[in-house]
């Protein structure tokens, strides 16, 4: 009977589980073939709603290693069909080839750009020239290597090109010197921008010792550009390989990088495309497409590589790539990407989620903050934790002076710098509103102290209070604890008293030390949002606690061992006392920093820094004087003993690590033997 019921229940249970999982699976099913990834508030990649779904795969154009595409305002796609030495004009909407340019002189057209007027610029690195065609495919100009003396000796092998509204050409040509800038008549104007050589430490050391002759043999080259693009406003964008932070750059007219603090990217950027509203699409060779706002803010990335470790054949799944060579966006917002290994073109259709984000970003740029807020809130409904939504909501609220709401959103998105700005405004408003009260209270306090002084002269009561208070504090352990503030202000005298055993006690020191630990913990986890860089849940408390106590123990023991053989007079107890009693400046600093960090913005961060450095130096000086006094050392011996103590501490840590590893080995060895024995016995 019982067994039957059990069986029934378990069947039911399994059935329910099966049902639930099958439902969830059906919900999860999506036409997307790759995850859309974004950053969470802690800067880690997380999955978000699908922003793009794979749409069409154009495979029947008989392309051969196409290296570049460009889509004009009328949704014609120009394809640089490099392997077939031709240019194709392909109508996206009708799926037909409209025009084909084949020219004898075209040898490997690998960069293409179309101006607003319809002129087609083609960069050909084998023919070493730029070709300019009219909109009906006739050759208008051919720009060959510039004759300017400053360009002499440089190779001209243009492979990517961007053209601004007045016909200036920006060319990437496989040279390290940078992006070549040609005027509309083909004259060399100089290098528009260049990458700098990053010297590693070993390079610098080598530089110091090498002779001039040896230096000539070193090959040092900056990270090379991989592409160049000019948007409809004439702003130049470049991509750089082998540089993760600066892989996508937006240049000002002087060629400097507007994204000077770097972007979220990968190190294999191959192409960049910017649509009418300034959204930046960057293709990574490995198959992902990264999307950024105008200001370089990472929105999300999608697409993936079809290469799987262990599988020989790359599966043909739409939306996955072997290598992307180029990316472009049409007027409806569809993203088109070219795979030059498999020679096909893939389009992606933006989802509602993506379109909402773009329209909200555009509204913000056009200063329609209230409309923008509305759309961002819809985005939030789709994804509660969307960092970009919270960030931009915050920015919009800042613009309409709703600072408290802005603070809330910046808090969620983890944007500390903007949170600080919003907080400054909120604090300023609060201060202004309460200013009259503050002034009244201040005046009242001043008057009160004045009256009290007068009263005190006639009927002395201060003295009575003082004696009463000192009676309360006149207990041994309280006096011992508060002695640390005396140490802070008069270290030389107080350490002498401690040494003689007249002041301070082990109990007092232990209480000071334990209290300090709790204050240190509070300081580590309890600061205000903008100064608390690691969230409480991400802290490794074990390490902090263990590190705190182990370090003190190590210092006390090592210092004792070192000084006892060097005529030091202090014992372990005295060393611990000096350490604990030296901590008073840190007490004051940690408490005041933790409290102040809740009311200060980045604008005033300097004050926290100065408190911290001041306290650290003060404590350091205290410990130094303490060691000197307790061991009765001269200054030179004190310095010597501190250095030896530090070295000894490192040695001990290393030895302990070695011992732990060896014991681990030994334990493993015995466990193996016992296992072996058990296995033999049970056989």
């Amino acid at each position: 009977m019982n067994a039957k019921i059990k069986f029934f229940i378990s069947t039911l249970f399994i059935f329910t589980v099966f049902l639930i999982t099958s439902i969830t699976i059906s919900v999860e099913a999506s036409p997307a073939t790759s995850y859309t990834m974004t950053l969470n508030s802690k800067g880690r990649y997380v999955r978000t709603q699908d922003a793009y779904l794979p749409d069409r795969s154009v495979v029947d154009l008989k392309l051969n290693k196409p290296e570049d595409i460009y889509i004009d305002a009328n949704d014609f796609m120009f394809i640089a069909d490099t392997g077939n030495k031709r240019i194709l004009k392909y109508n996206i909407n009708t799926d037909e080839v409209d025009m084909e340019i084949t020219l004898k002189e075209l040898k490997s057209p690998d960069g293409i750009f179309v101006t607003k007027e319809g002129d087609i610029y083609v960069a050909d690195h084998t023919a070493k020239a730029i070709f300019r065609f009219s909109s009906d495919g006739l050759l208008k100009n051919k720009y060959e290597k510039p004759t300017a003396p400053s360009f002499e000796g440089t190779v001209f092998e243009p492979s990517k090109i961007g053209v601004d509204n007045s016909g200036n050409m920006f060319i990437y040509g496989g040279v390290y010197d940078g992006i070549i800038h040609l005027s509309n008549s083909g004259e060399f104007q100089g290098y528009f921008t260049s990458n700098r050589i990053e010297l590693s430490l070993s390079d610098r050391v080598r530089d110091m010792f090498y002779t001039e002759k040896q230096k000539l043999n070193l090959s040092r080259n900056p990270a090379i550009f991989s592409n160049v693009f000019v948007d409809s406003k004439g702003i130049v964008y470049t991509t750089t390989t082998n540089s993760e932070m600066y892989s996508i750059k937006k240049h000002n007219i002087a060629g400097l990088n507007n994204f000077s603090s770097g972007v979220v990217s990968q190190s294999d950027a191959t192409d960049v495309y910017v649509d009418e509203s300034g959204i930046i699409y960057a293709a990574m060779s490995s198959g992902s497409i990264f999307v950024y706002s105008q200001s370089g803010e990472f929105i999300y990335s999608f697409g993936a590589s079809n290469f799987r470790v262990g599988s020989e054949i790359n599966e043909d799944i739409s939306g996955l790539f072997t290598t992307i060579s180029a990316v472009a966006v049409d007027s409806k917002g569809f993203v088109w990407a070219v795979d030059d290994s498999k020679s096909f073109i893939q389009s992606f259709k933006p989802t509602d989620y993506a379109e909402k984000i773009y329209s909200a970003l555009a509204l913000y740029t056009n200063r329609k903050y209230n409309e923008s807020i509305k759309i961002w809130q819809e985005v939030l409904r789709l994804n509660q934790m969307s960092v970009i939504a919270h960030n931009n909501l915050g920015k919009n609220y800042m613009s309409i002076e709703e600072y408290e709401l802005a603070m809330d959103h910046f808090l969620i998105s983890g944007n500390r710098a903007d949170f600080s700005e919003a907080f400054w405004e909120v604090r300023n408003i609060d201060l202004q509103q309460n200013l009259s009260y503050i002034i009244i209270i201040l005046i009242a306090l001043f008057v009160l102290s004045f009256i009290l002084k007068k009263v005190d002269k006639k009927h002395p009561f201060k003295y009575k209070i003082k004696t009463y208070v000192s009676k309360i504090f006149n207990r041994k352990f309280l006096r011992d604890i508060f002695y640390m503030f005396r140490v802070m202000t008069h270290p030389l005298d107080s350490f002498y008293e401690i040494k003689k055993g007249r002041k301070g006690s082990l109990l007092g020191a232990t209480i000071i030390y334990t209290l300090f630990f709790f204050i240190f913990l509070w300081y580590t986890i309890g600061k205000g949002f903008i100064y608390q860089f690691i969230a409480v849940e991400d802290l490794d408390l074990n390490t902090i606690v263990f590190g705190f106590f182990a370090l003190t123990l190590l210092f006390v023991i090592c210092n004792y061992l070192v000084t006892s053989i060097n005529e030091g007079e202090g014992g372990i107890k005295k060393i611990f006392l000096l350490f604990a009693y030296s901590l008073a400046p840190m007490y004051v600093a940690f408490i005041s920093i933790t409290l102040l960090s809740h009311i200060l913005t980045y604008n005033e961060s300097f004050f926290l820094d100065i408190i911290k450095y001041f306290a650290f130096t003060w404590t350091g000086v205290n410990i130094f004087l303490g060691i000197q006094e307790i061991h009765n050392y001269s200054i030179r011996n004190t310095i010597k003993s501190i250095i030896i103590t530090a070295i000894f501490m490192i040695i001990i840590v290393v030895v302990i690590l070695i011992i732990i590893i060896m014991w681990d080995q030994l334990a493993n060895f015995f466990i193996e033997i016992i296992m072996e024995a058990i296995r033999n016995v049970t056989k």
Partner: protein
């Protein structure tokens, strides 16, 4: 009635009370006149002006506390940049320059007379020549093109690939101002300290060594500083006043007031900006009164720390 008073007066004069009072008054009269002419009256005028709206052309118009309220509630440049900048600058340059002065003075006191005189003159010189010299020397050093010494050196070492606009970029101006101010902070306070250290009684040191002082540090802590407290106080007050009033550096270096993005804007610059560029004298006067209060507050702290307790 009148006669009674006259008799009382004569009697007092004969008794000597009034005689004393009059002679004291006569004695301090020259100083009192000069002090009130050049310090007390201008200060009082500034305080009066700070309660008015004054644009230099029309007669000042009484405005009550409006200027002060504006400073605290409306002037976001003041609250956002000027006040934090001033405090930052003062907290580093004040104590920093003071400690530097003392250390240099002490080191100078340890060497022979000849080199000491030359060296102290050399150290004192920057604060004597003041603004113009600062402009010439430091502007050349931190010049924003590749001919500036620092830029040239950094480029030669390959640390930068294009010159840094040291004096025009907000992130560099403040540190440079602090360096320059520290360099020129060995002023009159420094000379007073040199004199103070040299005047300390040699016998005290000998006695202290007999009593068990072991090193120079203890000597400084137990003998030198206690025996030169007046000079220390004088140095501290001079450092505070000098620091808060030395606002010209930022403007001299960057060549513009306001300094780039208000990065080096101190209260003095703010006062100049309002007083002599916008001609809002009333507002500028209110700012100077606030500066006066700040200096007074810090001087009080200095008195608490260094004054003799008796």
């Amino acid at each position: 009635m009148f006669k009674e008073k006259r008799d009382l007066f004569i009697e007092k004069f004969k008794n000597g009370n009034l005689k004393d009072a009059l002679s004291v008054l006569l004695l301090i009269l020259p100083y009192a006149i000069l002090f009130s002419l050049f310090i007390a009256i201008p200060t009082a005028l500034a305080i009066t002006l700070s309660l008015s709206y004054f644009n230099v052309i029309e007669f000042p118009e009484y405005a009550g506390l409006l200027n002060y309220i504006t400073v605290i509630t409306q002037d976001s440049v003041f609250l956002r940049y000027v006040l934090p900048n001033t405090l930052k600058y003062a907290l580093i340059v004040g104590p920093g320059g003071y400690i530097l002065s003392f250390m240099l003075a002490w080191m100078l006191a340890q060497i022979q007379k000849g080199p000491r005189t030359i060296l102290s003159l050399a150290i004192y010189a920057p604060s004597m020549v003041g603004g113009i010299f600062t402009g010439v020397v430091w502007k050349t050093l931190f010049n924003g093109n590749e001919h500036g010494y620092i830029n040239a050196l950094l480029m030669q070492w390959g640390l930068i690939d294009r010159p840094v606009q040291f004096l025009q970029s907000p992130e560099y101006l403040m540190p440079i101002m602090i360096i320059v101010a520290l360099w020129s902070s060995m002023g009159i306070g420094f000379l007073a300290m040199v004199a103070g250290i040299l005047n300390a009684n040699e016998e005290l040191y000998e006695a202290a060594y007999i009593d068990g002082i072991k090193n120079k540090f203890q000597e400084v802590m137990y003998i030198t500083i206690p025996s030169m407290k007046p000079q220390m106080l004088f140095g501290a007050v001079m450092a505070i006043v000098g620091t808060f009033n030395s606002g010209g550096i930022g403007v001299a270096l960057s060549g513009s007031n306001p300094t780039p993005q208000n990065s080096g804007q101190l209260i003095i610059n703010h006062i100049e900006d309002y007083g002599f560029q916008r001609y809002e004298m009333g507002y500028a006067a209110a700012l100077s009164v606030i500066l006066l209060l700040i200096i007074w507050g810090f001087s009080k702290i200095a008195y608490k720390l260094f004054a003799e307790k008796n």
